[in-house]
């Protein structure tokens, strides 16, 4: 007896084809399926449906009968999975997988994805999934996470210093937003945890831009100064085309140093709002640094010769910036004023020492991270010394 199904009153323009598809799935091409039903247009619908689906409709049969075609099987012939499972991060992601989810069965054909980075070891860090989970768990709302109402009025000269530092921070955070955004648009989405992490990083920076701007304008109508040297320094980060080098220069060296700066500002914050915004930003930046370090270390582990490229990148950036002013005078002085807390000579001297200690801490941090990545201590020290005077 031929396989048969009964659609009862269900028509093919109201979902009946699902039942037929289901029944045909278990049959081989050429097999026949009897389709019973009470809908008056069953025969007309079935003939039209069979035609579009690549099945045959047996017009000679007494009861409507479908002869199974093979178009559905042909469509998926040669299909391959984009990784064996959702967790299988392959060494080389196929551009022809396009935007398919990792682990999905991908129909052949369709446009190849125009992305640059398709090799796992050039973008990956085993820490990425954990960092992404942490990033989503630690999202905060600028409207409520900062005690904006606690903004006390400061002496003019201190407020000037705060506004200048905030202006500088916004400029740097804008670079730190654009870089992960650029990187993620060139990354194969197969490495989705890295993509997600970069997206979270860009979103973090967007919030930092917001809170630093808001703090700068808390008591003032205008922002501070933007030095050409600082912008030149940031421009070299934007222009770095390589994923790992960009991540290394931005996160390992730049954001790493910035982390010390944010801690410094938090410690010497003259008001609660400044303390809040620097604390919140530092928490996010620590995660960015962690990915940069983990990723760069991953690359060096798979290819020790990459250390040479990292070294060259630092030297090249140093050479490009050799003739620029670096950190502008106003920012440096503002940091001294904030650390000093008052204008007595003794206080300024203390502030000056604090800023020197900050630079020392930045240097130590960079050396520590460079050594973790794989540089010998002397080389780590030399490279750290070449880092931009603009901090980021």
């Amino acid at each position: 007896m031929l396989p048969a199904i009964d659609l009862e009153d269900l028509s093919l323009d109201a979902g009946g084809h699902l039942l037929i598809d289901r029944a045909l799935a278990g049959l081989a091409p050429g097999d026949r399926l009897v389709v019973r039903g009470r809908h008056p247009a069953l025969g007309v619908h079935l003939a039209a449906w069979c035609r579009t689906e690549g099945h045959l409709f047996d017009t000679a049969a007494e009861t409507p009968t479908v002869i199974r075609g093979r178009a559905d099987l042909d469509r998926w012939r040669g299909a391959q999975r984009a990784g064996r499972t959702a967790d299988d991060v392959v060494a080389h992601a196929d551009r022809r997988w396009g935007l398919a989810a990792r682990g999905a069965l991908v129909e052949p054909g369709g446009p190849a994805l125009a992305v640059d980075w398709v090799d796992r070891d050039l973008v990956w860090a085993d820490l990425a999934p954990r960092l992404y989970a942490q990033a989503t768990a630690n999202q905060w709302d600028p409207a409520t996470a900062v005690g904006w109402a606690a903004g006390v009025s400061l002496p003019d000269s201190v407020e000037d210093a705060v506004v200048q530092v905030m202006t500088y921070l916004v400029e740097n955070e804008q670079a730190a937003l654009m870089i992960p955004a650029r990187l993620l648009s060139r990354l194969h989405p197969h490495f989705r945890e890295v993509m997600q992490l970069l997206a979270a990083q860009a979103a973090d920076e967007a919030r930092h831009v917001e809170i630093f701007t808001r703090r700068a304008l808390l008591h003032r109508d205008t922002l501070g100064l933007s030095g050409a040297g600082g912008r030149a320094s940031l421009q070299t980060l934007l222009e770095e085309p390589d994923f790992t080098l960009a991540s290394f220069l931005l996160s390992v060296l730049g954001e790493g140093s910035f982390l010390d700066l944010l801690h410094f500002l938090h410690r010497h914050a003259p008001d609660r709002v400044t303390a809040d915004v620097t604390r919140l930003a530092a928490r996010d930046e620590a995660r960015h640094v962690a990915f940069g370090v983990a990723h760069t270390a991953h690359v060096v582990r798979t290819d020790r010769a990459f250390l040479h490229r990292l070294r060259t990148a630092v030297e090249r950036r140093h050479a490009v910036l050799a003739d620029t002013a670096g950190l502008n005078k106003q920012v440096f002085d503002a940091l001294v004023v904030l650390a000093a807390g008052s204008w007595t000579p003794a206080a300024i001297s203390r502030g000056w020492q604090e800023v020197l200690r900050l630079q020392q801490a930045m240097d130590e941090g960079r050396r520590r991270r460079l050594e973790y990545i794989g540089f010998p201590p002397d080389e780590a020290a030399a490279l750290s010394a070449l880092h931009t005077r603009n901090f980021m």
Binding site: L12, V44, A48, R75, G109
Partner: protein, 285 residues
Amino acid sequence: MSDTLLLGAVAYDPKVVTIWAGFRSWFRDRGFDLDFVLYSQYERQVEDLLAGRIDVAWNSPLAWLRAQRLARAQGTTVRAVAMRDTDRDLTSVIVVRADSEHRTLADLRGRTVAVGAIDSPQATLLPLALLRAAGLDPDADLELLRFDVGVGLHGDHIGGERDAAQALRAGRAEAACLIDASLLLFGREGTLPAGSVRVLAETEPYDHCNLTAGPAADPALVDHFGKLLLSMSYADDTARPLLDLEGLKKWLPGRTDRYAALERAVTETNFYDPQGALGAAGYRP
């Protein structure tokens, strides 16, 4: 004689450019030099086929019949090389609203019947032939509500059928003429919600488009073209998107024995005269 096979196709939709540019690449990748020209309507395409300006025409069923008539008048022949699997055994239906009192075609006497474009085989010529066979003279016994969308495209543009369906639903017509696939499509998309219409009559199965070789085409080149066409597989992911766009799973050899009903309809209405000249009143492609 040139090694290029020049194919004519009617640009009833912008996707036609994508389809034939894609097929051209597919053929050229296999060492066969195919090129194409696009027409805005079928009549000029058929005339050019018979004049030898193109080798092969992707013809509607009506264009195929006209090509045959013109060929006979010229003492030459045309050949159906291939057709889509979806060109075989189509039917057209005449539908009424589900709650309509009409039970037979004869009940439609004096009523308004919505049809597609004047030159649509599936939504006008064949259903009207069915009504004539039931003893109704469409001109005298019916109020025809004709939706002339895309005249010259021989019904390839679905707009006329959709308008006819909407007229039925809105109560401006008491019956509408559609191809079977449109009945299913309109049901699914809600133009004619499921259960809202009843099929009053259905034509015998007929065939639709075919690739017609003209008298000037090199027969060996046409044979080679046909062979390659029939070898095109739905499992080939370079061909599949094109086949999907063109609405087929498989090319089949051309067959010509299921155009008889349309041939009769054309003769009865003098849509074309026996020599293939345009005869239908009000037909301006």
